[in-house]
Amino acid sequence: MRKFAAILSLCLFTLMLPLSGVAELTIEITQGVDNPSRIAIPPITQAGRSLPEDVSKIISADLERSGLFSPTPRRDMLSFPATAKEVYYRDWRILGTEYLVVGKAVNQSGRYKITFSLMEIHGERKVFTKVVEGPTTQIRDLAHYISDQVYQAVTGIPGAFSTRVAYVTAIPVNGKMTFQLMVADVDGARERLLLDSKQPIMSPAWSPDAKELVYVSFETGRPAIFRQKLATAAREQLTNFRGLNGAPSWSPNGKTLALVLSKDGNPEIYTYELSTRKFTRRTTHFAIDTEPNWTPDGKALIFTSDRGGTPQIYKLAIATGRVERLTFRGSYNARPRLASDGRTLVMVHRDNGSFHIASQDLVTGDLRVLTQTYLDESPTVAPNGAMLLYATKKGNKGVLAAVSLDAGVKFLLPARRGDVREPAWSPK
């Protein structure tokens, strides 16, 4: 199945049109919730002087992208308060604003310290005042931190604006495909190139500390699994078996990888102890077993297998080796990922002949198709479990798209050039 996917993806890559420009991701919101909370974020400055990045604009964009907030345009604001004391609630009530974030920055020897408050307009009260500080180079991180705090205070769910996403782009250069492994902030900014290859790169997955990636690269002429540190870009080849070496997934404690090898003749799930470099075969079935992923407690693996005649999702308890089938609706369920609650399963589900992303509640068994786009694949859930990213097609271009787990909010992250695929949302 993996092999199939690889061939399929290669075919898809060759369909692309050459386009010029930078491959940075941009965001188009396609569907928001019916009643987003109105929030205003006046400019956050350093005693009137602007900061190297427009912090309040970053926060507005973050919150708007969540679909749960509708930011008040800056040109409509009657005043730009910077502290809770300077707020005239009447000014904001007129605009219909429900929440207000005010803040001011201080520069202390190359570090910014931002003091910010969240105000609730109808109740005329301050919800909190917090302080965040960091080096001038990380001003975007400070902005995302503020977004996280505001989002959590209003919705009760931790924010995921400080996270990153890894993905693979395929760009035609002089008629030949170039594959790039990229990491960017989840808002698409600060895109960074990790690996550039003439051969396909697939299946990036994060380490639990979000400091490393594992992925499959065909650079040696056949698929092999590599690990790479983000900070130093140092990399190491982990596998070099005949046949498939694919779909690596890092265990929650960071000590073990789950992966697929076909060295014994048939695609099977193995675990690989990073410290001892020991492989352990976990499945023994003549059917194809692939796409392993850990449960959040690290005690079990979920994977795709066609041992029941059609591709379905199974759960394997590591300690006992007991296998249990999880999906029963539809003739195709694959590429499983569990949200951090360990209960919400997301996967690629075939529904009336087309492939969509669906979520299934493992306790109640309720299945819900979340997307309506075409040829959806590779779902990856945000660490807060509120949203997921997936790869889909727009025109004949591969793009990333996001959908909230309640299917209320949807947006696209099209790249300006080339195809984007295989997103992996960082665990923090």
């Binding site: 092999k3 199939f4 019916d34 009643n35 909370s37 219909g96 429900e98 609730e120 307009i121 109808h122 109740g123 919800v127 205070a153 209003v154 009760g156 003549f286 059917a287 194809i288 066609d306 041992r307 029941g308 005649g309 059609t310 379905q312 089938r325 029963f328 068994g365």
Partner: protein, 265 residues
């Protein structure tokens, strides 16, 4: 799947190929002793013993075994799938039966204790006092019940279950008369009535939003829609006044109203 199918195919092909090739070779071997004087340069010598050694029967048999294993494996997978699915259904049925039994048991014992004492009352009462006692983090967001009730109604509408959503929207404003989503409920009812061609009901719903919630975010949309409804009802003057009011804003409804005015007046 693919891989298996192609292997089966290969097995077939091999067995046919060997069967087809064997007779030809054998015939040419039989001819040889007759025409001893004529050398046969085109048939290379080492080929004959090679074909001779493995008699034509064992090879197809090996292919057969392989083929049979494939067939059996496919069969086992199909059966396994069926067993898994049946097992799941049985578990589901058992759970449902248990639920039904518990429900029946509860009703019976309630009836036995206090005649027609409401069986589910204590449960809901407990739940509602619990939610009430939780300190609301930020009040204006609407109580969770209220929000949930409204989004349920809205989701029914999105799912195309119109009659259910009408009932739920009506229930919503009856249940939460001072709630956050009352105007929204009237607005969506208006939209539904327009679609159903019940213009008088639509007029009432949109008027409620426009008259009672002048500052609500659904009001510009409602003004535009109300204008449209009056236009459809034939009251051109009222329609025009409302549409012009809606068109004077700077939002989506204003743009819609402007183009509607341009097209119809």
């Amino acid at each position: 799947m693919r891989v298996h199918a192609s292997l089966v195919f290969l097995g077939f092909f091999l067995s046919i190929a060997t069967q087809a090739a064997a007779p030809v070779e054998e015939r040419s071997r039989q001819h040889q002793p007759v025409n001893t004087t004529v050398p046969v340069p085109q048939t290379p010598v080492p080929q004959i013993p090679e074909v001779q050694a493995p008699a034509p029967i064992p090879l197809p048999q090996a292919g057969d075994v392989h083929y049979q294993i494939q067939v059996l494996q496919d069969e086992v997978r199909t059966l396994r799938g069926m067993v898994e699915e049946l097992n799941y259904e049985v578990t589901q049925l058992k759970a449902r039966q248990m639920d039904d039994y518990m429900d029946l048991d509860r009703r019976l014992s309630a009836a036995a204790v206090g005649g027609a004492a409401q069986p589910s009352r204590p449960v809901t009462a407990g739940a509602s006092t619990e939610t009430a006692s939780i300190p609301a983090g930020i009040p204006a967001a609407g109580s969770p019940d209220e929000t949930e009730h409204y989004s349920n109604a809205y989701n029914q509408l999105k799912a195309g279950k119109v009659s259910e959503s009408i009932a739920l929207f009506k229930e919503h404003y009856a249940k939460y008369p001072n709630g956050k989503y009352v105007a929204n409920s009237y607005y969506w009812l208006g939209e539904i009535y327009v679609l159903q061609g019940q213009l008088e009901l639509a007029r009432q719903s949109f008027s409620t939003v426009v008259d009672n919630y002048p500052a609500h975010r659904k009001t510009p949309d409602s003004t535009f829609k109300l204008g449209q409804v009056y236009h459809l009802l034939g009251d051109k003057a009222k329609a025009k006044a409302l549409l012009e009011k809606a068109a004077s804003g700077n939002d989506n409804a204003a743009r819609l109203a402007q183009s509607y005015l341009k097209e119809n007046f």
